[in-house]
Amino acid sequence: MILNERMKVAGQREIARNIFELVLEGELADEIREPGKFVHVRAGETMDPLLRRPISIADYDDGRITLIYRAEGDGTRVISEKERHGQADVLGPLGNGFPVEAGAPGTKALLVGGGIGVPPLYGLSKRLKEAGVEPVHVLGFQSDDVVFYEEEFSRLGETHIATVDGSRGTKGFVTDVMGALGHEFSVYYSCGPLPMLKAVADGMQGTEGYLSFEERMGCGIGACFACVCRTDTNDPGYVKVCSDGPVFKAGVVSI
């Protein structure tokens, strides 16, 4: 069920430059059935900033959710000022997440994330591992100072970092790492900027894959048609990222 809850701020910290990890407590956490869903967060209490901000659920557990986000614009900056014991107005869980069951136990799954597309892969990786699937992570960032959760991912499985400027891990893009992996994957999952999703899907052609998309949102629940993407099939010819996605099987959304 979708709840609108004033969740309690259990903690917030800056884990990389302008990247914040926010832990929230509330009943909403117990409504989450799969990784990759998102929540719609109201930044302040006044009319500016006005719209909610969609943020992926990076991790969830008994009564808690973790969000990891970049504080950049007006809304996320306000969110980043929330302090322990404060509250956050959250709507969720929203959308459809990653199908964990797409990975067969005993096989390997490839998880490819870019920048602020990395967070939802963390919850996914945990669930895959629990389900007996071995996660392999390829995480791309701009530079060393915005890399986060390398250790957390490493604890779950093989983890490769790529940075555009080479200041950590492989210099270049996630695809540069992917080319040299030499594993067999039964499934892949990816979240990040559109060009990255395209490159990943191209590189993984033939393997079952799931991609998580971003679009500007209004309502976040499917009512306003702000977040549509064209599909390769014709009826109705589009999907809504917020309610049909954000995760789609590779090949559904035209990219």
Binding site: M47, L50, E215, M217, C219, I221, V228, P236
Partner: protein
């Protein structure tokens, strides 16, 4: 006696609160959140003769206390609306106001004729003011003569009362209001969105793919209130007011300005439960203000 009850042409409203067109789809999504029967009415998404995909994305952008949208009237088309969306809504005890759009008079007429026959459609809302579509749309809403003629043509075929939705992007909104009243409109709804833009400082380009978008939300509220005030004083048909409504005092103020009922658009994205909340708190606020029946509010600013 229900003190929130308002009677309007075609609409017996158990309360004066309804979601505005385009902000509530055809109700399915919000029905996951609360019982739609609670609402005074529902203004459903604009319906055109043929299905429309709408504009390229990004279609929305945030602005100070407001937002721009250029959805472009995406909708599944008349056939699907009449055979799927509206029948689904019949499970709720709530009158539907069907928002009718088109590119030419013939489109409006065709949609109006058919959609007005749906059993739960109690009124039409003629959308002559959408700023986000290339032909038709806004030109109908800025020329009093054309607006009046379109109203007359639609009235001739509609089986239910016709409300005309006015554009705020005009020099004199009362002129259009009077023209559509003369054309036979049973009521008016206003305001639609103001045309606006936002730019990306890095590229110098508009953020909305369509270039311009429609501005809505609290930012436009002062303009909406002024137009509701002006229009309600210059016509004798009822007005449904909207534009930035988000709290109970906004409802009070729009009605004081001259609205007989109100619609809530953008606020549904900010607080998804805003409509039922407003309905719940209205009686208490009326008590605090010493108002017995909500209809006492309507146009009280004109009387003092």
């Amino acid at each position: 006696m229900n003190r929130l009850q308002v009677e309007l042409p075609g609409l017996s409203l158990k309360n004066p609160i309804m979601p505005a067109s385009g902000c509530f789809g055809f109700g399915k999504e919000y029905a996951q959140l609360y019982d739609l029967s609670k609402l005074g009415a529902i203004m459903v998404k604009a319906t055109t003769l043929e299905p429309r995909f709408g504009n390229p994305t990004p279609r929305v952008a945030e602005t100070p206390a407001g937002m721009l949208n250029a959805i472009g009237l995406q909708n599944p088309g008349l056939e699907k609306v009449v055979t799927e969306e509206l029948p689904w809504l019949e499970q709720y005890d709530v009158p539907i106001i069907a928002n009718v759009a088109g590119s030419e008079t013939e489109d409006y007429v065709a949609v109006a004729e058919r959609i007005s026959e749906a059993p739960n459609v109690h009124a039409l809302e003629l959308n002559i003011s959408c700023p986000n579509v290339k032909c038709g749309g806004i030109t109908f809403g800025t020329d009093p003569k054309i607006a009046g003629e379109l109203t007359r043509a639609v009235k001739a075929v509609s089986s239910v009362p016709v409300y005309v939705k006015l554009s705020p992007n005009v020099t004199d909104v009362t002129e259009i209001a009077r023209a559509v009243e003369a054309g036979g409109a049973d009521g008016l709804t206003l305001i639609n969105t103001l045309v606006g833009m936002r730019f990306d400082p890095r590229t110098g380009r508009p953020v909305i793919a369509n270039g311009t978008g429609g501005l809505s939300g609290p930012a436009v509220k002062p303009v909406a209130l002024r137009m509701v005030y002006e229009v309600s004083r210059s016509v004798s048909i009822p007005v449904i007011g909207m534009g930035g409504i988000s709290d109970v005092d906004d409802v009070i103020n729009f009605m004081s300005a001259g609205a007989s009922a109100v619609a809530v658009g953008t606020a549904n994205f900010v607080d998804h439960f805003v409509c039922p909340k407003l309905i719940d708190v209205l009686p208490d606020r009326l008590d605090e203000l010493g108002i017995g029946n909500i209809t006492e509010l309507i146009g009280r600013s004109h009387r003092i």
